[in-house]
Symmetry: C2
């Protein structure tokens, strides 16, 4: 880390001089919590400007929230009936109609909720900082569960993550121990570490004194120990069975910088975040059902025309911050230039889908011992999520699939009832009959078919002139959204992109 970066850390930490020595060392090692630094604009006072914000998702709401704190006057235009965009939490009574005309009305019981879009927060994300600032309580989201399943359709019954992990780590450790002991890595280990490597592998792989992996308690048990010593699981399978079984592909997930445990969620549903933002912005500043139909940049202001309740409206402001999905923004007539149109069209919307399956009992807890986390399958369900809250309560909601690309498009092409039928049929193969018999209701969202969003996220053309162009103001119009950040498909990306737009607006105002 160079001196400049270290100074930024220490500024962020509010320390200086000798007192910061340890913190500086910590910082150099990633030991301080460094979300991207940002200085909120100072309050503008009477000089505040008017800003029209297109889109009432996280980027739009954050833009209005931060500009409002700085003394600017914002109006948010949101085409959907509620703010939040893809931060969508479905509760009993909620109704959504998709682009194919399918209308679903959630029949969930009171207290059941379904985070159909954003669902988890990594601890380094500014999303958590906004939860703190806005008073949104958070709790742990179980992103990884040793007792959830890895399921391969060719492989018969699913295995627990803990079993697959023990077997793979065990055999990998055994193999590396063997060649290390045989001296085959002496060149690589010439500068030291041979004994430490063997000690690590022995512990990590639960190896015997002779370096063999023979299984052991960390695989899990058929009957767990108690008054007596427990009944071991069958196995372990042979080295080749473990390697060719395919479970290894599931084991790297929770090592990701954006997926490692612990992860977090707001208590009561992810939409607590946009709801808190909307309250802080002032609900009177947010126009719902307002569909933008034209954006015109002028020397003295920007005019945005929109339709609301079947009538045409126009608003003129000093600035416009456009946070609509780029592929939808590309369709709106504007005078920002052909290069802007081409740049917007360079972002590719991605398909993803989820189904919320509400159950009349929490059989995954009582029968399978699975408390949160997700099962990984090569069926087109891809992931099945178990709830991270409400443990032991009478009901619960399982995300029956979370899938992407072609899998998501396949479900999107089905009517909601057929999506549920397919999800239940496949889920039953993994979980047994309760996956069907305990089902109370369901609700599915195929993001590519949601009006005014038409995609789960938009993949940016990183490094392209198009990406750079949209990060610069187009006259009095600025763009923001997770799609303009380096953390696309995360609320974090929307927050930090909005912050950048806020700074740019404020500096010009």
């Amino acid at each position: 880390m160079d001196g400049l970066t270290r100074r930024r850390f220490l500024q962020a930490l509010g320390v200086s001089g000798g007192a910061g020595a340890l913190l500086a060392t910590l910082a150099a090692n990633g030991g301080t919590a460094v979300t991207p630094p940002w200085t909120p604009p100072a309050r503008a006072g009477r000089a505040g400007r008017s800003v029209v914000v297109l889109g009432g998702g996280i980027a739009g709401l954050t833009t209005a929230y931060e500009l409002g704190k700085a003394g600017h006057r914002c109006t948010v235009l949101e085409a959907r009936a509620r703010p939040g965009g893809r931060v969508l939490t479905i509760r009993g009574g909620d109704r959504e109609t998709d682009l194919d005309g399918h209308t679903q009305r959630a029949a969930f019981a009171y207290g059941t909720y379904f985070n159909a879009g954003a669902a988890r927060i990594a601890p380094w994300m500014v999303t958590l900082d906004y939860c703190r600032e806005l008073g949104v309580p958070v709790e742990v989201f179980v992103n990884s569960n040793a007792d959830a399943f890895i399921h391969r359709s060719a492989g018969g019954a699913p295995v627990r993550f803990r079993t697959a992990r023990a077997d793979l780590y065990g055999y990998v450790s055994q193999l590396l121990t063997r060649v290390t002991r045989q001296g085959l890595l002496d060149a690589e280990l010439a500068t030291g570490g041979r004994d430490e490597l063997l000690a690590f592998l022995r512990e990590f792989g639960r190896l015997t004194d002779t370096g063999e992996y023979l299984g052991g308690p960390d695989r899990g048990f058929a009957v767990y120990p108690g008054a007596d010593g427990g009944v071991p699981l069958q196995g372990p399978p042979s080295l080749s069975e473990v390697l060719t079984g395919g479970a290894g592909a599931s084991l790297g997930f929770d090592l990701g910088f954006d997926q490692a445990m612990p992860m977090f969620q707001p208590v009561g549903g992810m939409d607590r975040i946009p709801a808190a933002l909307a309250r802080a912005v002032g609900e009177e500043r947010i126009r719902l059902g307002a569909e933008v139909v034209a954006v015109t940049n002028r020397p003295d202001g920007v005019e945005v025309r929109y339709r609301q309740d079947g009538r045409a409206h126009a608003i003129v402001a000093d600035f416009c911050v456009a946070t609509l999905p780029p592929h939808l923004m590309a369709r709106i007539p504007h005078n920002l230039g052909d290069d802007v149109s081409l740049a917007l069209a360079a972002f590719r919307p991605a398909a993803a889908g989820k189904i919320g399956l509400e159950y009349a009992s929490r059989w995954w807890e009582t029968e399978l011992g699975i408390y949160g986390g997700s099962t990984d399958t090569d069926l087109d369900l891809r992931q099945v999520w178990y709830p991270s809250s409400g443990f032991h309560s009478p009901r619960g909601l399982v995300v029956g699939y979370y899938n992407f690309g072609p899998d998501a498009e396949a479900y999107a092409s089905l009517a909601p009832r057929d999506r549920a039928a397919r999800a239940v049929s496949l889920g039953e193969r993994i979980h047994g009959p309760r996956f069907r018999t305990e089902l109370a209701s369901s609700f599915s969202v195929s993001w590519s078919r949601v009006p005014h969003l038409e995609g789960a996220w938009a993949t940016p053309p990183y490094g392209s002139p198009a990406f750079a162009l949209l990060r610069s103001p187009a006259g009095r119009v600025l763009f923001a959204g997770d799609w303009l950040s380096h953390t696309v498909a995360w609320q974090h990306g929307a927050f930090v992109s909005a912050r950048a737009a806020v700074t740019a607006v404020h500096e010009r105002a």
Copy 2:
């Protein structure tokens, strides 16, 4: 799994015949939740017997609870001022005096609590079943946190778990990839799996196409990505630096069958469990401050003499279930025979200690980005725990050390204020000045010095005649406790041992 075991599974699941085929397969793979099976006794009606239970910890309370449900009349004698034993939660105003005469009074703010003993529950433990049955809400306990530190006093600044893990997994994968590509494992991989092994290692170790580990985003960042791409951490260190740095010893912990994530805790403090048990037993059946002084087995009953409020009392019952720590039970005069005395003396009490450090701010969240989990150090603190609940609230309690054996004995020999001074001084080395400056109050428990417990747990002589002897009735006296189970030092062990005693009493009644 043999046919008998499979039948037990299916009985436990309440399924039979063809419907159970998948579940049977699941069961054979550990895919059903199988805590040790137990059938509660049927209600005895008028034939209920009187039982005196020695000790009001989990084993004693569970014995009284389950025997009460079966129609027996229990009296629990507990020497301490509250039930729960080592399930001890300290809140503001609580007072404890240790065997050395040190009295501490907790100055914690309202809402702060310190689980000084039992603190976590694995999802397969019957402890969770009792939480469900008793209506004790549970939440996730963060037992492993990618952002907590690994600290080695010789190594300078601490590293994050995520960084150490990425580096070790990366280099291990690189080494094994190299020898596999060189054909040095062709014999071991003759039956298949070579390509799958290479694919797994590449993903698991985040290797390049050429099989090199060069670091990458999963090590963490100096500045995390946001609007821009993020600033990488320094590093990675060299292979030998990583291997000899000592972090590997910290990485196997959360692979343990009793430690893997997710883990759980009752909302509001672990003593919610004994409190709920005590309510269910009936507080009038629990005599607090009642110190047992003699146990006499007779043909027609068992007499227990005890002291309460300075006065001598006696109680005669049909049966006695003794759940006191074995090393304390060994001191109580009885007529159960010398072999029982010798067997009790074969259990060795173990030292462990914790200190609760209440802070006036949650600096570990705001400054270090650590939300729950624990730091592992080779200082005598051993583990520093961050709270798993109350995220973002004004205050919070860090467990400044959780240590065992000689480390615990060293702290036990200090006065409470000196324990706090040492813990803060060492914790500051890892965490920086906030570890000292934000401290509000502290409370420490050295379990070997707690009256009527005198140990964190007692290590059983597994496989010995002594262990077997105490698991059989001694006349009308039966023993129970985690120390008689195969899951010592866990509430689970106390619950299952109590269940065994309950069955034995009921069958003889």
